[in-house]
Amino acid sequence: MSVMTPYHSEMRVRRDGFTQLLRAEWTKFRTVRGWLIGMAVAMLLIVGLGALTGSNSECGIQMGPTSPRLACPAPPTGPGGGWVTDSFYFVRQPLSGNGSITVRVTSLTGLYSTHGATEAGDGSATAGMTPGVQPWSKAGIIVKASTRQGTAYAAMMVTGSHGVRMQWDFTHDVAGLTGKVSAASPRWLRLTRSGDTVTGYDSADGARWTRVGIATLAGLPSTAQAGLFAASPGYSVTSRSFGGSSATGGPTLATAAFDQVGRQGAWPASRWTGEDIQAAMDKALPVSVQGFTQAAGRFTVSGSGDIAPATDNIDVIRHTLAGTFAGLIAVVVIGVMFVTAEYRRGMIRTTFTASPRRGRVLAAKAIVLAAVTFAAGLVAAAVTIPLGEHLLHENGNPIPPVSALTWLQVVAGTAALLAVSAVLGLAVGTLLRRSAGAVTVVIAGIVLPYLLAVTPGILPAGAEQWLVRVTPAAAFAVQQSIRQYPQVTGDYTPGNGYFPLAPWAGFAVLCAWAAVALALALFLLRRRDA
C-alpha cells in the first residue's frame, strides 16, 4: 500500500496579497525612466532654487560710501533661544538676594508719529508727534538678570489697552486687572523674588492683592537688576490693497507716572540709575527723549522700544525652500501620470485583471507614490535648508536660531506636503483620467492660491487669509518656522510668512482634500469601466 501525498505547489500561498500588489506597483514606478528622472528633477529643483535664493539675497549695512559692507546684525537672543526685541528705559538698582518691589502707577500717556522718525530742526525728536498711547505700550516694574539685551526677566506692567499684564522671558504673557490706568483708578504692582522664581501681584487699592503669575527664571544671578521701566513698540499701519501695500508708522514713546515705591530685601545702592537699554538697529526713539525724573517720591519714566519676541524677521527656512513649488509641480505631474499612463496604454485592464479588487490597486499605488515622494522630499529638504542657510549667512543675512523640533517639522512637513500632493494628483488623475486636466486642477488648487495669497497687491487681506485656510495651499503652513504672538502687534500676513492655521492643522486641510479626492476616485473606479 502506498500512501498518496496530496500535491502541494512550490509557490507560496496568497500570491495575490497586498505585499505583491505593492511590489508590482513599485516595479512599475521604478522601471519607467521618465518618472525616476522626474523625481530627480523635483529634488534638483528644490535644492537648486534654494541655492539660487540663498546666493541672491543679500543683507548688509554701509556706514559711508567708501566703508566696507557689514553683515546685518542679528537681534539679541532671549533665554528661550529665539530672537527678541529688548529695548526700553530702565530705572534700576541692584537687588541682592530675595526681596520685592511695589509701586503705584497713576498714568500712562504716549506720543506717536504717523510719518516715520522725526528729528525736527529744533533738536527735539518728538516735535510733530501726536499724543496717543499704543495698545501695547508698557510701563511698570521689572526684575532682570542684567542690563544686557536678551537676558532673563520678569515684569509687571500696565499697558495701553490690554490692562495689567505679567510678562517674563519675552514669550510669556499673563493678563491681570483689566481697564486703563488713570489717577482716579491707579494700579498697584508688585514683584517678589525668591530664588529662581519671581511672583507678580496686582491690586487696585494697595490693600487687596491678587497673584497674577509665577515666573521661573533659570539661572537668575543672586544680584539682579530691579526697578521701573517704560517701553513703547513701533507704530505701524499697513494699508493693503490691490494696488500694493503701503506702510506708515515710526517709533513711539510711552510716559508713566509712579509713586508709593516700596522695597523689601537688600538694595545696596543708595540711588536710582536711569539707563537706556537699546541697540543701534532697534526701532526706538533716540536716547535724548527717553529718561526719568524723580521728585518727592514720584517718578516719571519715558521709554521707547519693546520687550517682546521679535516678529518682523524674514522666515529664513521658508525662504530657502522656495523651490518646493517647482518640486511640487514635478511630483504632481508624476502622481497624475502614475495612473493616467495606465489608462492611455490600456495597461489598467491588465492591472485590474490581475487584481480585481480595484480599491487595493488604488491603495497600493498611493502608498508606493507617497513613500517614494516622501523619501525624495525628505532628502531634498534636509539638504536645501543647511545649504540655503549657509549661502544666506555668507551674504550677510543673520540666521535665526530654530529649535530641533521646528526644524524637524519643516523638513518632515515639506516631504509630507509633497507626498500628499502627489497622492492628490493620483486621485484626481483617477477621477478625470486626463493628464492635462488633472495636473491643472491640482496645481491650480495648490500653487495658484498660495501665489495669490503671498503676492501683495493681488487680493484683499480677507481673501488672502481665506485662501490659505480652505484651499490645499493651507499645507504650506508646515514650512513656517516663525511664531505669531498675541502680545506683539505685527503684520501677520501670509506674504510675511504668517499662516492663519497652525502648521499641522494647515497640513490636515491638504490631507482632507486628498482623502475626499481618493474616496471619490475609489467610488468611480468601482462603478466605471476601465
Partner: protein
C-alpha cells in the same frame, strides 16, 4: 493651408472637451473677477485700487484652463496616435503646427473676449456698489476709457498668447502631463521666486522676465510708473516666450519622429 486649418477646426469642433473647457474658462474668469470685485473693502478714496486689474483677477485662473485646451490640441493627438495620420496627410509639418496655433488662438480670442467683457461689466457693477467709481477719483471702468480698453483688449491678447505658448511647449515635449506641468511652472514659478529673492537687481529682472507677471502688466491702469516695464513691453515679454516655445515646438516637430 486653408484645408489644413479647416481640418484642425473640425478636430477641435467635434471633440466635446475643448468646448466645455473654453466655456469653463470664460465662466471661471468672470466668476473669480466678480468675487474679487465684491471682496473689495475700502473706505472711499483711501486705498489705491486699480479697478481694471481687480475686475480682471479671473485671468489668473482662466489662463490655466486655456492652457489645458491648447496643450491637449497637440498632445491629444500624440496619445491616440492620430498625429501620424495628420502628418501623413500634411507632410509639411510646420503647416500642421501653424494651423493648430491659428485655430487655438482664434477660439481663445473669442472666449477671452466674452470672459473679459463679462468681467469688466461685473466689475463695474460690483465696484460701483462699493463706492469705487469715477466720481470718487478712481479710473472709470468703461471700455470708452483708453487705459481700461487697453487692459481689457490686452487681457484677451494675453490669453491668446498663453494658448500659443502652451501649443509650443506641448509640441516640444508631447506628453500632456509634462507639457501642462512645464507651462504652469514657467507661469507661476517666477513670481514665487521673485518674492523671496531680496537682491534688488535680480528681483527686478525676474519680474521683467516672468511671462505671467510681465504679461499681466497690460492690466495695470494706475501707478504705471512703478512697473519695471510698460504694459505693452510686458505683453511683449510674454509674446517672446510664446514665440520661443512655438519655435522650439516647430523644430522638434520637424526633426523628431512622430
Amino acid at each position: 493651408m486653408n484645408d489644413v486649418v479647416h481640418a484642425e477646426w473640425t478636430k477641435l469642433r467635434t471633440l466635446p472637451g475643448p468646448g466645455w473647457l473654453l466655456l469653463a474658462a470664460a465662466a471661471l474668469t468672470a466668476a473669480v473677477g466678480a468675487i474679487a470685485a465684491n471682496a473689495v473693502t475700502c473706505p472711499a478714496g483711501i486705498c489705491q485700487i486699480d479697478p481694471a486689474k481687480v475686475s480682471l483677477t479671473g485671468i489668473y485662473l482662466g489662463q490655466a484652463v486655456v492652457a489645458i485646451v491648447a496643450v491637449t490640441v497637440i498632445s491629444g493627438e500624440y496619445s491616440t496616435g492620430m498625429i501620424r495620420l495628420t502628418l501623413a496627410a500634411t507632410p509639411r509639418r510646420w503647416r500642421v503646427l501653424a494651423a493648430k496655433a491659428a485655430v487655438v488662438s482664434a477660439v481663445t480670442l473669442a472666449t477671452g473676449a466674452v470672459a473679459v467683457l463679462a468681467s469688466v461689466l461685473a466689475g463695474g457693477l460690483l465696484l460701483g456698489r462699493h463706492g469705487i467709481t469715477a466720481a470718487h477719483g478712481y479710473e472709470a471702468l468703461s471700455l470708452g476709457n483708453g487705459p481700461v480698453l487697453r487692459a481689457a483688449a490686452g487681457s484677451v491678447l494675453y490669453l491668446a498668447l498663453i494658448a500659443l505658448f502652451s501649443v509650443g511647449v506641448a509640441a516640444a515635449v508631447r506628453d500632456s502631463a509634462v507639457a501642462i506641468g512645464m507651462v504652469l511652472s514657467l507661469l507661476f514659478l517666477f513670481p514665487i521666486l521673485s518674492s523671496v529673492i531680496t537682491s534688488p537687481g535680480l528681483h527686478r529682472h525676474l519680474e521683467q522676465l516672468s511671462p505671467m507677471t510681465a504679461g499681466l502688466y497690460i492690466q495695470a491702469t494706475t501707478n504705471l510708473h512703478s512697473l519695471p516695464l510698460t504694459p505693452w513691453q510686458g505683453l511683449g515679454v510674454l509674446a517672446a516666450w510664446a514665440a520661443g516655445a512655438m519655435l522650439a515646438g516647430a523644430l522638434v516637430l520637424r526633426f523628431r519622429d512622430a
